[in-house]
């Protein structure tokens, strides 16, 4: 039964993929609607969602401590000295993820039918999308680290394929490659972490690992494993998370990943794939909680990333880039939560974030679709009237991410901030970082919202059409019939928006403080966070008030500032240096280019030309030259006359016979 969850998208992928490869891709066939392929793909993921729901209900019917379903398909790698099964395990943590992935996935599939209606190769798009869902579901269902890794790299592949979906544009293709390579750097750490686990514990299965450490609800190190080993394991695995979940220093690929179609950004680069790092940390929470050092690093990296990405988001002009940096920032939040031991809060934020960030991205997609591929928020404004549904739903998402009660973002963010302050791993510093980020988040999201939907339009009606033609991506993404003017999107797109808006509105109620259903549900996997004594309980209300006030402050500032565009322009000129640094994203990409990419490239070139060819090959060839030279020297006696050779032979015979006779005598 569990296997059905990833199986449906796999079947969808195979159908759409072969249809694309053998029918649609043939040159000459250019026109194809997204209807049938979209329907197949949606049915596939919907099937997963239904199965996930059924299994969720089944789990709910079980007593909490035995809420685990397992299915072993076949032995994957088994031989003397090693054993690994292709097995799935569904417990309270993974069921949440399967629901989110298949649920949000279904909505985004439906949305894509509308969004990709003008695309030349929808078969390819939906095949990739289904493949992604397959890999993501493998990731969350895998019963052991290698299967998780299978999904982990699988989603990375889909991310690569979908970012570079419009491959004719070299920049987009490069963005895809960058995403894959940066993720590979993370996977390098992941792999080593996995090896270290195997060496230390002799298993890669989550349950076996857990039972090696947790005894009677209490985590303790087994004999012969040092704390430093666990720290090393956690940090190495966290390197993997840095890559996949876009944390400093490996976050650079995510903003570039916005080159992909917007539904992809919503599904992969906001709602699901990027949160798999949090999933893994939460899955291995028993391991992480053994190492205070690793926890501190996770929290610090998360907090700094949250803040750092928020600073960049303030100045970006591309609607999707703003959302991308916002995603990086929110992911930082989640790691901050994990780092202070609030794994449940982290998972909570993953879920609410999946709702509101998917909503925001899809809303942005709707805007872009309506504006004919315009992504610059400076050229938008006043869309409230033109796109009422998009406006309304986007507003809900905006309030949710700003942390305004009672929207979902409020609950999860507040939970994180409170635990960052109060937990034994937390500190005022971490809380301060989080709170400051919250203010900035409110600020840049409001900026985005204001510039896009409020105010006066900063575009001409004719502009859209012209633009649509100018930027059509060759044959692959041109609008066959660019409709005049800005328009609201079709229902296939606004429908999912409305569902997501509803979820963003009510999603937070699953984790109301002190009566959290979520915490209770996750208790078998993540031990409930015990309240700590060193902070007074009333502080919780104080801090909640502070964070809401902070969000309100951010919103207020942004609305005041961006009501008139002159004001921000003055600020930008006043602090031109700071503005430039932020606008250019702290020059991190340039730094990597200078310190890593170019030196390695130059080194490789040097090794090839100056070592491989010039040294090794020359040594080998010099052997050849030496024998050639000696051959040339000796060959003077080679007259070519057979009779001469025979004469020499005769001389040889005489000499040997002479030697023999002399020896006998």
């Amino acid at each position: 039964m569990i296997a059905l969850i990833p199986l449906f998208p796999l079947i969808g992928f195979l159908i759409n993929g072969s249809w694309y490869a053998f029918v649609q891709a043939a040159p000459g066939r250019r026109k194809a609607g997204s209807g049938i392929t979209g329907a197949i793909a949606t049915m596939a993921i919907l099937g997963s969602f239904v199965v996930s729901c059924l299994l969720f209900l089944q789990l709910q019917g079980l007593p909490p401590e035995s809420r685990v379903l397992e299915q072993t398909l076949f032995p994957w790698m088994t031989f003397a000295g090693f054993k690994l099964d292709m097995a799935f395990r569904l417990d309270s943590l993974s069921t949440l993820f399967t629901l989110v992935v298949s649920g949000v996935g279904t909505l985004i599939h439906i949305y894509s039918i509308g969004y990709m209606s003008h695309d030349a190769t929808p078969g390819k798009f939906f095949a990739y999308l289904n493949l992604f869902c397959f890999a993501m579901l493998m990731l969350v269902l895998g019963a052991s680290l290698p299967i998780l890794f299978l999904g982990w790299e699988g989603v990375g592949l889909c991310s690569y394929l979908l970012i570079g979906y419009w491959y004719s544009d070299p920049e987009k293709a490069s963005a895809g490659k960058k995403a894959f390579v940066v993720n590979r750097v993370g996977d390098f750490g992941f792999l080593l972490g996995m090896f270290l686990i195997f060496t230390a514990f002799g298993t890669l299965d989550f349950e076996a690992l857990r039972s090696a450490i947790v005894h009677g609800g209490h985590a303790a190190l087994p004999e012969g494993v040092a704390v430093t080993t666990v720290t090393a394991i956690c940090l190495l695995l966290f390197v993997g998370c840095m890559g996949k979940s876009a944390q400093i220093p490996l976050y650079v690929w995510l903003p570039d990943a916005m080159a992909g179609p917007t539904p992809v950004s919503a599904l992969i680069h906001a709602a699901t794939m990027v949160t798999s790092g949090i999933y893994m940390v939460a899955r291995l929470n028993f391991l992480y909680s053994l190492s205070p050092t690793a926890m501190a690093v996770v929290a610090a990296v998360g907090g700094v990333t949250a803040f750092f990405a928020a600073t960049i988001a303030i100045t970006q002009k591309d609607i999707k880039k703003v959302l991308a940096y916002s995603t990086v920032s929110q992911l930082g939040y989640m790691f901050l939560a994990c780092g202070v031991g609030a794994f449940t809060a982290g998972v909570f934020h993953v879920i609410t974030h999946a709702f509101f960030k998917a909503l925001l991205f899809l809303g942005a997609g709707s805007v872009i679709h309506g504006m004919h591929e315009e992504q610059d928020i400076m050229k938008m404004g006043g869309l409230r009237a033109k796109m009422p549904v998009t406006f309304a739903t986007f507003a809900l998402g905006w309030l949710a991410i700003c942390g305004i009660p009672p929207f979902s973002g409020f609950f999860s963010k507040d939970e994180i901030l409170w635990l960052a302050f109060s937990s034994e791993h937390g500190s005022v510093l971490l809380w301060g970082l989080g709170a400051l980020t919250a203010v900035m988040t409110a600020f840049y999201m409001t900026r985005l919202f204001t510039l896009t939907f409020l105010g006066k339009p900063r575009f001409s009606e004719a502009h859209g059409e012209k633009h649509g033609h100018g930027h059509g991506h060759g044959d692959d993404h041109s609008h066959g019939h660019a409709p005049a003017g800005v328009h609201e999107s079709p229902f296939s797109m606004t429908g999912p928006l409305q569902v997501l808006a509803l979820l963003s509105l009510i999603g937070g109620f699953m984790g109301i403080p002190h009566m959290s259903w979520l915490e209770h549900w996750l208790a078998p996997v993540i031990p409930a966070h015990q309240a700590t004594g060193h902070v007074a309980a009333e502080m919780e209300w104080v801090l909640m008030g502070v964070s809401v006030a902070g969000a309100a402050l951010g919103i207020f500032l942004a609305i005041r500032l961006y009501a008139d565009l002159e004001l921000p322009r003055q600020f930008a000129t006043k602090w031109a240096g700071l503005y430039r640094v932020l606008f250019n994203k702290w020059y991190v990409d340039e730094l990597y280019e200078r310190t890593l990419v170019r030196p390695i490239h130059a080194l490789s070139q040097g090794l090839w030309k100056n070592f491989d060819v010039a040294v090794i090959d020359r040594i080998v060839l010099s052997f050849g030259r030496a024998s050639q030279w000696s051959g040339q020297t000796v060959r003077t006696i080679q007259t070519g006359s057979i009779q001469f050779y025979a004469l020499v032979l005769l001389i040889g015979i005489v000499l040997s016979v002479g030697y023999l006779i002399y020896g006998l005598a």
Binding site: Q643, F644, L650, I651, I653, V654, V657, G658, I661
Partner: protein, 182 residues
């Protein structure tokens, strides 16, 4: 060895002399005729050694077939070459070659003379061969029983030689010179 010394020395002297002439005669035709004489002398010696079948084959194959082939080729080539008779090779080489051959010959003679006789002779004594029906019969029977495999293999060899000789000696067809047949 129960052979008549008179006839042996007669044939041996003839063979030695003629073979020297083969080497020394300038004209290849003369060499060829001397070679025939050598072959005949050898046939005589074979006969004295009771190898009657070989003696016959020597005359038939060597003196008959092979020599005819040689003469035929000489005649064929002689036609249009003015300087068919070639000088012998470099005098130095000639001296060295002759000297070394002589030295080796002496070594061989010395070795033959000082080698001990075989300890136990085989089963085909002259009398037994005689009793079994004579040399030719015995040899032939052996050829078709114990030596049948090599015998059959020689047929492959001969086939190969025929094909090879034809392939080599055949005049190459001019490539691309169309219009030969009209």
């Amino acid at each position: 060895m129960d052979i008549s010394p008179v006839f042996f020395y007669l044939f041996a002297g003839l063979a030695l002399g003629c073979s020297l002439l083969v080497v020394l005669k300038k004209n290849p035709v003369a060499s060829a005729f001397n070679l025939v004489m050598v072959f005949f002398a050898f046939a005589g010696i074979y006969a004295m050694l009771d190898a009657h079948l070989i003696a016959a084959l020597q005359v038939l194959v060597y003196a008959g077939a092979i020599m005819v082939l040689f003469l035929f080729v000489i005649m064929l080539l002689n036609a249009d070459v003015p300087s068919f008779d070639l000088q012998r090779s470099h005098p130095g080489a000639r001296v060295v070659a002759g000297l070394l051959c002589a030295v080796l010959l002496l070594a061989f003679v010395w070795a033959f003379k000082n080698s001990p006789s075989p300890v136990e002779p085989g089963q085909f004594s002259a009398s037994r061969i005689e009793a079994a029906g004579g040399n030719t019969r015995v040899v032939s029977e052996l050829l078709f029983s114990e030596y049948i495999l090599p015998f059959e293999l020689t047929s492959v060899l001969l086939l190969g030689a025929i094909v090879g000789a034809v392939a080599i000696a055949k005049r190459k067809q001019k490539v691309g010179a169309g219009g030969g047949v009209k």
